[in-house]
């Protein structure tokens, strides 16, 4: 075997080792390629023919796109996640701020919040369907429930973690009432609130798929179930999974944009 190409490759890797294009694009892409190759190898040698290969999965993505279900089902899932998440933030952030800041509020509401929090949103599916029927209402309710606790608890913790020196600075300069809230409580808590929203959106995207598989007649979760039930189309199942992952990444990238504002950037710097 000729050793020189390998030496050349090693030299190239070492030169590129710290370069941005390499660390951010080439290296992760290479790992992704290796995973896809392993998948192909597994299909070739170990798995039954029912398992889709990477190529079949790619073809299935185009098939879903062609018959229009990619957009209609993705839109259905995104619609439920958007509304449920938005409503959860709308209720959870103010509630978390209030419960975090006031002793009485904390004493009154923290126990019930902690009691409801460990109940999986999936467990609520029967009641969601009972109350809202099969459709968007139930989905929005479940997403609301799934995102509400990460957001509320995260916001509460953010407020309760406001550092002593900042509280004392605020006291020292006579900040009270709304001014104290606007100048200290909210800005101090904001980085952690954004982090909790990020976590909540991730959970919401996990939950919507499960909810649609069990109790809805549209959406990406329903598409997975449909593909399996209607003809054991595992290529369509895998294709939908890839789409779910891709949309999840995009959602996370979008919400991370909030972390770039000058007012919150301090909260993400290692100290």
């Amino acid at each position: 075997m000729n050793i020189y190409p390998w030496i050349g490759l090693a030299v190239a890797v070492l030169t590129l080792w710290k370069c941005q294009v390499f660390t951010k694009v080439i290296l992760p892409a290479a790992v992704g390629l290796v995973v896809i190759c392993l998948w192909q190898l597994a299909c070739d040698h170990f798995l039954s023919d029912t398992n889709p290969t990477p190529g079949q999965t790619l073809a299935a993505i185009f098939e879903i796109d062609d018959n229009g279900r990619l957009w209609s089902d993705a839109a259905a899932s995104l619609f439920r996640v958007t509304w449920g998440f938005f409503l959860a933030a709308l209720v959870g952030i103010p509630l978390g701020l209030w419960v975090g800041w006031t002793t009485r509020g904390f004493q009154a509401l923290n126990p019930i919040i902690q009691a409801l929090r460990p109940i999986s949103p999936i467990a609520w599916i029967p009641f969601a369907i009972l109350w809202f029927g099969i459709g968007d209402g139930a989905g929005i309710f479940l997403i609301f429930y799934a995102s509400f606790f990460p957001i509320t608890v995260g916001t509460m913790a953010a407020v309760r973690n406001i550092s002593m020196v900042h509280q004392r600075s605020a006291l020292n300069f006579g900040l009270t009432g709304f001014e104290l809230f606007r100048r200290v409580v909210l800005p101090a808590a904001l980085p952690q609130i954004i982090t909790s929203m990020r976590i909540a959106l991730g959970v919401a995207w996990l939950v919507i798929v499960a909810a649609e598989m069990v109790g809805m007649d549209s959406g990406l979760g329903y598409l997975i179930n449909d593909a399996r039930n209607m003809g054991r189309r595992y290529d369509l199942v895998a294709a939908t999974m890839v789409i779910i992952g891709a949309i999840g990444i995009v959602l996370d990238l979008l919400i991370r944009k909030f972390e770039d504002f000058d007012e919150v950037r301090w909260g993400y710097v290692k100290r």
């Binding site: 600075s169 020292n172 300069f173 101090a188």
Partner: protein, 268 residues
């Protein structure tokens, strides 16, 4: 109180300020209640601080010097005794007496400009702008108005905090080991900068430190506290002109005296 009474009284106070101390500590004691035992951190502290004076509180860690400062700032209460500023007993924090913290009390979510403006909220816009710019220039941060604290070095962050305190023209500035987190070179620069600013503005400064050199370089008087429970061991006058000659015999003598009071022998 009628307006005429007020005029008379304020004139009367002005006359007295020449002789009356600014800050008065009387029999200040403080005990923290712990689970198993009561922890007495301060015992009968008596001290008068003159207007415009720079006083260092020097003592070993845990001797209660920060607690003393926190009580004077209105963040904690005394058990017995009292602390008064201009004859008024302190019960709560106020922007007439401003704290500078070791761990950066400035707001990381606000720009340098907004941080300095914190205490100027009630001034008219024009006045606010003028005072903020003056103070930022005074501490040497011209050109950094729009910067955020995370973009600044430790020394510059402390300059922002000093500016935020100076901007409200407080009666007293409390500094709790403000340069403790800085590297030793920056610390030296910050000391001479603080003296420059103090000479220009003449605020009364109470400065807590456990650094003997720092206290001699800064203070008119060094108040040495004993180990817990903190009592005043001695008040040492530092009668040296600024900038202080660190190699002078008088400097060495004071240093020796302070180390002896702190119970340190082989300090070199």
């Amino acid at each position: 109180m009628s307006p005429s009474d007020k005029t008379v009284e304020s004139e009367y106070e002005n006359v007295n300020e020449m002789v009356q101390p600014k800050v008065v500590f009387r029999n200040v004691s403080k005990t923290f209640k712990k689970k198993n035992e009561d922890l007495c951190v301060l015992q009968d502290v008596d001290l008068d601080v003159a207007p415009g004076e720079f006083v260092c509180l020097l003592g070993p860690s845990g001797c209660g010097k920060s607690t003393l400062l926190n009580i004077a700032g209105g963040f904690e209460q005394t058990d017995t005794g009292s602390i008064t500023i201009d004859g008024q007993e302190i019960t709560e924090p106020s922007d007439r007496r401003v704290f500078v913290f070791q761990e950066y009390g400035i707001f990381p979510w606000a720009s340098v400009w907004d941080n300095v403006c914190l205490g100027l909220r009630k001034l008219p816009k024009e006045e606010q702008k003028r005072v903020a710019q003056e103070t930022i220039d005074l501490v040497g941060l011209k050109g950094f108005e729009k910067a955020y604290p995370m973009e600044l070095s430790g020394g510059m962050k402390q300059r922002v905090e000093v500016a935020r305190a100076l901007a409200v023209k407080p009666d007293v500035i409390f500094m709790d080991e403000p340069f403790g987190a800085l590297d030793s070179l920056t610390r030296l620069t910050m000391r001479s900068e603080l003296i420059r600013i103090w000479k220009q503005e003449k605020p009364t400064i109470l400065f807590v430190t456990h650094d003997v050199d720092e206290s001699i370089q800064l203070a008119d008087r060094v108040v040495v506290l004993t180990e817990r429970p903190g009592r005043i061991a001695r008040v040492v006058d530092v009668d040296l002109p600024h900038p202080r000659d660190l190699a002078s015999p008088e400097y060495a003598r004071i240093k020796g005296e302070l180390y002896e009071l702190l119970g340190v022998r082989d300090w070199g």
